[in-house]
Symmetry: C2
Subunit: 210 residues, 2 copies
DNA sequence: GTCTATATGATGATAGAC
DNA sequence: GTCTATCATCATATAGAC
């Protein structure tokens, strides 16, 4: 398969999508110009506007690809781990890309994306899917007796989703994967206390246990 | 005090800083044009470049203000609450602004900010300060017997910092404060288990307890 | 499918009058 | 301190030849 600038694909439209994906991750939507995408894809102006009606349509195609890729990566992390604890640890583990920030989460900060239903939708759909997967993993953990049945898995799933999202921001700010490792350790030590073995017979403090 | 467009301050330089603050929060750095700041501040082009050498210098002044404000708000949340649990709950509680995203965290996604030491510094300094405050609160919680001495407060602090950061992204994505409330509940229920009263005599699972 | 030419407006300033 | 004029460059296309 042909490879230009690290962007693979023989067809021009594929190279345009790959290039847009890369630039959306690096710069976001507003800051990515059609000219920059064309340069990276080695495609002309006319070529881009032949395959895609507008910058927005090309970005939409790129977002859909990024969503699919992100879901596949998350699914792989969950299936590769065996216990509930390990699955959550795997979900929160950093990779070499986290310093760049989250490829999808960063886009929602962009006003042009946030206020455009078409451009916001693939992001919302992907996060909803990931959140549902975390809920599924935690629910299985309760079923298998790895987590206490008292745990509210829905709110815990949002916490875990938020931690990974927030860790991306901190990692980019510090230029280091360390915030990921710390945030992962921080939640993991609490999760260990949520094992049925650690259950207290006493009620939790009223102000927090709901 | 004079008030123009909700931007207070009699002096032109103050109105410019307030306007830049507002636009940085709404649009980020790259997407905020000097012309937009001038319009909002009711100041002319020459006026802006008289008070500030460049867009970057004005943005730097605005960032420093935002950092001070954010630190003051966090400090108020911590001092207004009494127990450790309540302080953490207060830190994670949403306000009417969270749907817009985090005023400082959003800026680090901007390449012009991330790769400019001057523009990145006030953000890094503010986050470091907030993280240190969370560590202090948690450490006091251990000292007062509200948290188990086994808790690693440093990593837990990063988790809590990341949760608030990530919840901002989810809140903006959904257009709702709900992710904040869910993420807060999710971590609060685990924190309740970290009370010494809930300590198990058994060791936690080796894979997570470190 | 790809190319070049052209269009319209915004960007981020600088210069110098008042 | 504030104003207007000017400038080179970029953004996001459209039109029509090849």
């Amino acid at each position: 398969m042909a490879r230009i600038n690290g962007v693979s694909g023989d067809r021009t439209s594929e190279r345009l999508i790959s290039s847009m994906k890369q630039l959306l991750w690096e710069r976001g939507y507003s800051a990515t110009s059609p000219a920059a995408v064309q340069r990276l894809a080695k495609a002309g102006q006319g070529s881009m506007y032949h395959h895609f009606h507008s910058k927005a349509r090309l970005a939409l195609a790129a977002e859909q690809r990024m969503g699919e890729e992100l879901k596949r990566e998350v699914a792989e992390r969950f299936t590769a781990a065996s216990t509930t604890y390990e699955k959550i640890e795997a979900y929160l583990a950093p990779d070499e890309h986290v310093i760049r920030g989250c490829r999808l989460g960063r886009l929602i900060q962009d006003e042009e994306v946030a206020f455009n239903d078409e451009l916001r939708e693939p992001i919302a759909e992907t996060y909803a899917w990931i959140q549902a997967q975390i809920v599924r993993v935690l629910t299985e953990g309760v079923t298998c007796g790895e987590l206490s049945p008292d745990i509210d898995v829905d709110s815990l799933a949002v916490s875990i989703l938020a931690i990974r999202q927030g860790a991306h921001v901190l990692a980019r700010l510090r230029g280091s994967q360390e915030p990921f490792r710390q945030a992962g350790r921080g939640i993991a030590q609490l999760l260990a206390l949520a094992s049925p073995r650690n259950d207290s017979t006493q009620a939790a403090p009223a102000s927090l246990a709901d």
